[in-house]
Symmetry: C2
Subunit: 161 residues, 2 copies
DNA sequence: GAAATATGTCAATAGAACTGACATATTCAG
DNA sequence: CTGAATATGTCAGTTCTATTGACATATTTC
């Protein structure tokens, strides 16, 4: 049943065309599986509210950064405003999020979670945190800080927000 | 410009309903941004071949586990065979992947990368590895092994394959 | 007052996933 | 050998998320 063997050790590069090191397949795969299972769990929870992954991302950031402008949210999510609009409208209609005009700039519509929105965001964050907690139990002390630093280093340096 | 402040320290839980610890927002966010930027880079590269993220995932695993059966691939990706079919067909048609009947069980269609498929898979893996390499430069020695262990602990234990 | 900005919205499209139903080839168990 | 189970493929319809392009409105700024 194990005809699915790995393409293993780098065949000691025959020619000499700018020897690129062996790709870090361990990290590539580990990140894929970690993210797949991490979001999969939240997805199942969101189904109960007829929300998808996109709703979650919006609610998450609005809850974490109450008073966020639409433009700031778009930049965080790296999607277009048309993509955001459907999802945001549903969250507004079902009063998980509310808008208030900016006091300084009244063109802005600042986004705030409602009580229900905050509660839902918290519930999902707790489910995801329990996964992290289970993972950290198996790891030596300091793993949380190391893990956070590792992940931060992977994303592009310029994390605004 | 910083009206987007954090909902910070856990307001020392007023009542006493099974005190849930403060969610690990640092890890939740770091994993989101790391994955977003990690796959975003590959996505841009894939555009040149008119392939999407789904094609990449299939090609990646077929290249890593040549001789994989369709059922095994479905289980790795956690998608349905109908979802796989369009993507796999395109990869077969454009000869990045080829099928051979299993010698033991001739019902199976074992998947193998072609030369072109292997080259493309490698190219993408190298781009992603360079991102990891840049990240690891900033981190202390041992960060790679720690990071891999951290990610593995996050995904559900039973990684078959 | 004109230009730039922040947001909203309409329309059309694409990509990736889903469910359900059904067909074919092959293996396996009785 | 026959019938059930398995591995795969495929058709049809749907959902969700995202895209581009065009245009409207309110507000701020020069």
């Amino acid at each position: 049943m194990d005809q699915a063997l790995q393409r293993q050790s780098p065949p000691p590069v025959s020619a000499c065309e700018k020897i690129e090191p062996e790709p870090m397949f361990d990290l590539i795969e580990a990140l894929f599986f970690a993210y797949r299972d991490f979001v999969g769990e939240a997805d199942r929870l969101l189904l109960r509210y007829n929300f998808g992954r996109a709703h979650h991302r919006v609610l998450y950031f609005v809850d974490r950064r109450p008073g966020l402008s639409v433009a700031e949210l778009l930049d965080l999510l790296k999607i277009t405003k048309q993509s955001l609009s459907r999802v945001l409208k549903e969250l507004l209609d079902q009063t998980y999020i509310e808008q208030r005009p900016g006091q300084a700039d009244r063109r802005q519509r600042l986004l705030f979670p409602t009580e229900a929105g905050h509660a839902l965001a918290l519930e999902i964050a707790q489910v995801q945190s329990r996964r992290f907690a289970r993972a950290l139990e198996k790891l030596p002390a300091g793993a949380r800080a190391q893990g956070a630093a590792f992940l931060a280093a992977i994303s592009d340096a310029r994390e605004d927000a």
